[in-house]
């Protein structure tokens, strides 16, 4: 008797609960998720601008829906960005002073804003004007040192030009090599540089438990917060 009562109670309550849940719960979401991808790279003459992980970002604004808030699109360390969006019209901008580059001004009216009409997956490279480009960075292991030979190109020569503060070779355990994330580095001040096309940097290898190491060279420009980097190179030890 008693057990039967409990059983009954359980099934009926369960049934009621299930019905209630089905009735009260809404659909999984009110909107379908955004599916259209806008992606591309930040480039100068087709060459991607290499950056630091999670430091430089772009903003996408979509006017026409009441209050505005930017959709941040972070730029990865190899200069690529991507964002999943709804179809529609967007304005793409860089926040002030982001990145080791200046943006291209189209004309007085739109300035550097890029208008994007997104109706399908789009790949769009964004052209900017970097202060410097790292044209070549050859990283080699010489005995117990990692050496890099770097060649720089000063892109902006007019009154907006800026000097180099320092050039640094970073070593990292993983592919993410940056100022904050490295195990060894060596630095040359801008004032010590004689020939931009041939800068030699060398750093002693720290003791490691792994068979290869990742290296890249970064250039810090005076009064510019973000550094520009060379491609991450994997070096066999």
């Amino acid at each position: 008797m008693y057990t039967q009562f409990i059983f009954k109670l359980r099934t009926t309550t369960l049934a009621v609960l299930l019905i209630l849940m089905a009735m009260l719960s809404c659909k999984k979401d009110n909107y379908t998720e955004p599916k259209t991808e806008l992606s591309g790279s930040i480039v100068y003459q087709g060459n991607p601008i290499e950056l630091e992980y999670d430091q430089v970002r772009m903003q996408l604004w979509q006017p026409g829906f009441g209050k505005l808030a930017a959709i941040d699109a972070p730029i990865s360390q190899d200069g690529r960005y991507s964002a999943l969006l709804f179809k529609g019209n967007y304005k793409l901008v860089f926040p002030q002073n982001q990145g080791p580059f200046i943006t291209l001004q189209k004309n007085a009216e739109v300035k550097d804003t890029i208008y994007v009409n997104l109706s399908e997956d789009t790949v769009m490279d964004i052209e900017v004007l970097p202060y410097y480009m790292i044209r070549k960075a050859v990283v080699t292991k010489i005995e117990n040192n990692i050496a890099a030979q770097v060649s720089l190109d000063k892109i902006i020569q007019d009154e907006q030009a800026k000097d180099i503060e320092s050039v640094t070779l970073f070593l990292g355990r993983t592919q993410l090599v940056s100022r904050a994330n490295n195990i060894a580095k060596t630095e040359k001040l801008g004032s010590e540089l004689k020939d931009l096309t041939s800068i030699m940097l060398s750093v002693e290898l720290p003791s490691l438990q792994q068979t290869d190491i990742y290296a890249r060279v970064g250039v810090k420009i005076k009064n510019v917060e973000d550094m520009i980097f060379s491609k991450v190179e994997k070096v066999k030890l």
Binding site: K67, L68, A69, A70, P95, Q96, N97, Q98, S178, R179, A180, N182, K185, N223, E225
Partner: protein, 628 residues
């Protein structure tokens, strides 16, 4: 008969019930009317008390984490390790936008001016206090956000559908500072020169605010050029360099007014013969404290108490099963000078790597600025009469370490048969929260009263917002910036002498680095560090995102822009080497804790906080801060 009674009763009911409108029109018993409030001094004071309680501090004893940020301390608290594993701060950090508070202060001022039943003298004082609080909050806003809309009267929406008449653009950064300075100038003669009053605005508080605001404005004008991208064309951020000297002389004048006694007699706290104890009791001694000018006061059993001592008390023998959260870093500890005015790292090794052995744990810190032991609980010293038990383990003859992974863990040492304690009850144990993971606990603002570490009691130690030592250092800095090095040395030497640094600095020794350093050690854990780094525009150099190596940690100790991106620790070990002369002695090792994996980078966009999109959507006249 009974029927008649009923009828009579009904008549009575009607008679009482409805013939009088006044019956329903009763004054509320739970709300005071405007007229009642503004005719009674006590009511007005309690309104003012509400405004006092909403005063904004960038850091205070109410929030231990904010007080020890920027790698001056490690957070020995499992939930806070993330602070040392990221690479900096979000752009919105330290933001504030409380125009509700401003509106209520404006309402208070408007209504207090209109009130006609208060004693005129008291009314004037109330008004001056409200203006002090309003200027204080605008000062706080300009430090965090740059120039903000300067609203000096209560704004009311007319529900007409067009709010644009309520939308004000941002004022210039310099206009905000000018406002704070001129308000202080206007109210200082109204406020009482009453050094015994610490929790209400006094003449001293107004002058101290004036001095600090002018100094900040002056240094932003002077050093703003170091970061040309941290500026806006309209002057909402950035102050023209040619205004610097004007501000510095205002800062000096206001500071001098306090030093010369125009606001009553303030002086450095010098009650106790032991200089370290003297320095630490300056913060908790609330009886006739001659140094404190303005403070956020607390009171036991009143509901306004705080748990700073609970959060940071030494864990061993603590009154609750917690504490030890703020562990001052070795970076800060070694920046305290030696008594001969020179800088030197904590001497752990002699020259080329041979470790130095010490008889007592405290010996290694001997001969330093008394403020070190007054700010930090060093291993081998006591709190509430009990010695802290901070030591990391035994070092054997072959250099190997025996230690434990629990507080006061026991192991058998070689050559012995019974287990004994191999690590302190206060740690340090890497990754073990509430122990002194850097090897140090915080002393400043800890309350030595019994019960202060209990959750049911808590502490009534006040939080000092302005004190006389700051006035002296403001005067020193302003004199320095105005080129009067002699005066700068005189002012600064007073503060240093109180800390036991009795060899006076010569005027030729007063440099920018000296000014920066003096404020860092004097005001550690008082909420000055961030604003000081910001106004000198050195925050991005101090926190540049690079990790600190051991070599680097020991170099350039007195340099203003010395890197401070990661907290280091200093662990002490007992030597276990029976038969050797070093047996039983102490040696010390700098350590970087395993939980510290990131290195902080202060972005240029951190100099002024992000104005939220919501605020900008509501008022399109606002422009964004630089680099956002």
């Amino acid at each position: 008969m009974k029927k008649l009674q009923y009828i009579l009763f009904c008549f009575l009911l009607f008679g009482y019930g409805c013939n009088d409108d006044a019956f329903l029109d009763r004054p509320p018993t739970n709300i005071l009317s405007e007229a009642q409030v503004w005719s009674d001094e006590g009511q007005v004071l309690s309104l003012l008390g509400n405004l006092y309680n909403r005063y904004y501090d960038i850091a205070s004893v109410k929030d231990w984490g904010a007080l020890g940020d920027f790698n001056e301390a490690f957070f020995s608290n499992a939930g806070s390790y993330g602070n040392f594993q990221n690479s900096g701060w979000g752009l919105g950090s330290w933001g504030s936008w409380d125009y509700g508070y401003i509106r209520e202060m404006n309402l208070f001022i408007q209504k207090c001016e209109a009130a006609n039943k208060l004693d005129p003298e008291t009314q004037k004082r109330f008004l001056a206090e409200a203006r002090f609080l309003r200027a204080s909050y605008y000062f706080e806003l300009v430090k965090r956000m740059g120039g903000v809309p300067l609203i000096l009267e209560p704004l009311t929406y007319d529900f007409g559908g067009d709010p644009s008449y309520l939308q004000y653009p941002r004022a210039k950064e310099s206009e905000l500072y000018d406002f704070v300075i001129s308000e202080a100038e206007a109210i200082k003669s109204i406020l009482p020169a009453l050094p015994t009053e610490k929790s209400r605005a006094t003449r001293g508080a107004a002058l101290a605010m004036q001095s600090r605001a002018a100094l900040y404005a002056g240094s932003i004008a002077k050093y703003g050029g170091k970061t040309p991208t941290v500026a806006l064309k309209g002057g909402e951020v950035g102050i023209p360099a040619d205004k610097a000297n004007g501000y510095f002389s205002k800062a000096l004048d206001a500071a001098k007014a306090i030093i010369d006694g125009e606001a009553g007699n303030y002086s450095l706290y010098q009650k106790k013969p032991d200089l370290s104890e003297n320095f630490s009791s300056l913060f908790y001694d609330k009886a006739n404290n001659s140094e404190v000018i303005f403070a956020d006061d607390f009171k036991l059993k009143s509901g306004k108490v705080h748990g700073f001592t609970i959060a940071n008390q030494p864990r061993y023998g603590a009154e609750e099963e917690e504490g030890g959260r703020l562990n001052p870093s070795l970076n800060l500890v070694e920046s305290f000078e030696k008594l001969d005015n020179t800088f030197a790292p904590i001497p752990t090794h002699a020259g080329a790597g041979t470790p130095l052995y010490y008889e007592n744990q405290t010996d290694i810190f001997a001969g330093r600025d008394a403020r070190l032991a007054g700010t930090v609980i060093l291993p081998g010293t006591a709190f509430k009469g009990r010695n802290v038990d901070i030591w990391a383990g035994f070092q054997l003859a072959d250099g190997s370490i025996i230690s434990g992974d629990d507080r006061g863990a026991q192991k058998i040492l070689p050559g012995k048969s019974t287990p004994e304690q191999v690590v302190g009850f206060d740690g340090p144990i890497d990754g073990f929260e509430f122990t002194a993971q850097t090897g140090f606990y915080l002393r400043k603002y800890l309350d030595p009263v019994v019960g202060s570490g209990q959750r049911g009691v808590q502490s009534e130690v006040w939080f000092i917002r302005y004190r006389f030592a700051e006035v002296l250092l403001n005067a020193a800095e302003a004199s320095f910036e105005l080129g009067n090095l002699g005066d700068a040395a005189t002012y600064m030497n007073q503060v240093r002498a109180r800390a036991g640094l009795i060899i006076p600095l010569k005027s030729s020794e007063i440099t920018f680095d000296r000014i920066v350093h003096e404020r860092r050690v004097e005001f550690a854990f008082e909420g000055h560090y961030l604003y000081d780094m910001k106004r000198w525009r050195i925050a991005h150099e101090i926190m540049d995102g690079n990790p600190i190596s051991l070599q680097e940690l020991r170099e350039d100790l007195g340099r203003a822009t010395k890197r401070n991106t990661q907290p280091w620790g200093l662990w002490s070990y007992k030597i276990h080497h029976p038969g050797s002369p070093s047996h039983g002695k102490w040696l010390f090792k700098p350590v970087k804790l395993s939980r510290v994996t990131g290195a902080d980078r202060f972005q240029l966009g951190n100099y002024y906080s992000y104005i939220s999109d919501e605020v900008i959507n509501n008022n399109p006249k606002l422009i964004r801060n630089p680099n956002h």
